[in-house]
């Protein structure tokens, strides 16, 4: 599950409180929001684009948009719902822009108990299987499986209906199951 808005204490001001401070021109609030959410934003962008440099660019642009919109921001929904909507839109813009096709980087194979080669092959199979999903299914799976958003939260972040999210996820997991079956154990 994504982190809920933290309690409004002096140590961990809620996202909405940080947005108010940012609207008042306090740049430390922007740094605090970045430090709190950059991991999730970057992970979404990385899984969508397959590239670290693209993920960093999208992460930066996401928070610059947060900064630019701080004065207009109204905390009617969770900050993360709004944040995820920005990053998803930026990923889609990038995917649709001409001459912006991101090729996956060659990642070094990590050492594991079952051998680096086997693990690298398995991860590559996962990456390819997710990348092969239709765009909306891919977004739904990335937000659901990797960012831990519920169906309702995905619906709020994307603007799709909850039944549509359920349908996208069901089809996506079925496709992934078929694509990754050879990697199942037992």
């Amino acid at each position: 599950m994504p982190p809920d808005e933290p309690s409004n204490s002096a140590q961990t001001p809620a996202d909405a409180e940080l947005m108010r401070e940012l609207a008042a021109g306090r740049m430390e609030a922007l740094a605090a929001l970045v430090r709190r959410h950059q991991h999730s934003v970057r992970a979404i962008a990385w899984r969508m684009t397959g590239r670290e440099d693209a993920a960093d660019d999208i992460t930066q642009e996401t928070f610059l948009r947060v900064y630019r919109s701080a004065r207009r921001y109204r905390p009617t929904a969770a900050f993360t719902t709004w944040l995820y909507r920005i990053v998803v839109n930026l990923c889609l813009d990038r995917a649709r822009a001409p001459r912006m096709v991101d090729l996956p980087e060659d990642a070094p194979a990590p050492e594991t108990a079952d051998g680096p080669l086997l693990r690298a092959e398995r991860l590559e199979a996962v990456r390819k299987a997710v990348a092969a999903l239709p765009e909306r299914q891919r977004i739904a799976v990335i937000l659901h499986r990797f960012e831990g958003l519920s169906h309702a939260q995905i619906a709020a972040a994307t603007g799709w209906s909850e039944p549509a999210v359920e349908s996208l996820l069901t089809r996506a997991y079925e496709t992934l199951r078929a694509a990754l079956e050879q990697w199942h154990t037992g």
């Binding site: 430090r35 960093d56 930066q60 997991y173 990754l180």
Partner: protein, 144 residues
């Protein structure tokens, strides 16, 4: 009745209520087909979980710096636009208010008196301007 894939996905993701969870668990215990479906879905779920992003650097400092740079660019752009607008407005205002001197209109004595600064004499009680008039050649001459 067997649960759909959507329900099994919700069970895996922990999106079910305690009551739903109990009912699904009971069903899975009794239904080998659903148990197999759930086991395969669980394997896929676990495989996906291995796909983790590389550790990234902290972007907070660079993002704050980029925000300040954009602010500065926006400020200078606004200032430049304001200067251009002000200059443009001045030119337009000048064009609107400037009126050409008509060569057809005869100039009155009073205008000439005012133009050459003699009108203050009239204010002092003289009647000088009443004795000035143009002659036939367009020259100003004084009449007794």
């Amino acid at each position: 009745m067997c649960p759909g894939d959507g329900e099994l996905v919700r069970l895996l993701a922990g999106e079910t209520t305690a009551q739903q969870r109990r009912a699904l668990a009971e069903h899975l215990e009794q239904c080998p087909g659903c148990r197999d479906r759930y086991a395969r879905l669980e394997q896929t779920w676990r495989l996906l979980g291995e796909w983790t992003p590389p550790a990234g650097r902290d972007l907070a400092v660079s993002i704050v710096a980029a925000a300040r740079r954009r602010d500065a660019v926006r400020w200078w752009t606004a200032m430049a636009a304001a200067v251009v607008l002000a200059a443009g407005a001045g030119v337009v205002a000048g064009l609107i208010t400037a009126q050409p001197v008509s060569s057809d209109r005869p100039i009155s004595t009073a205008e000439v008196v005012q133009a050459i600064g003699l009108d203050h004499l009239a204010a002092e009680g003289t009647v000088l301007h009443e004795t000035l008039a143009f002659n036939g050649d367009g020259e100003l001459e004084q009449h007794p």
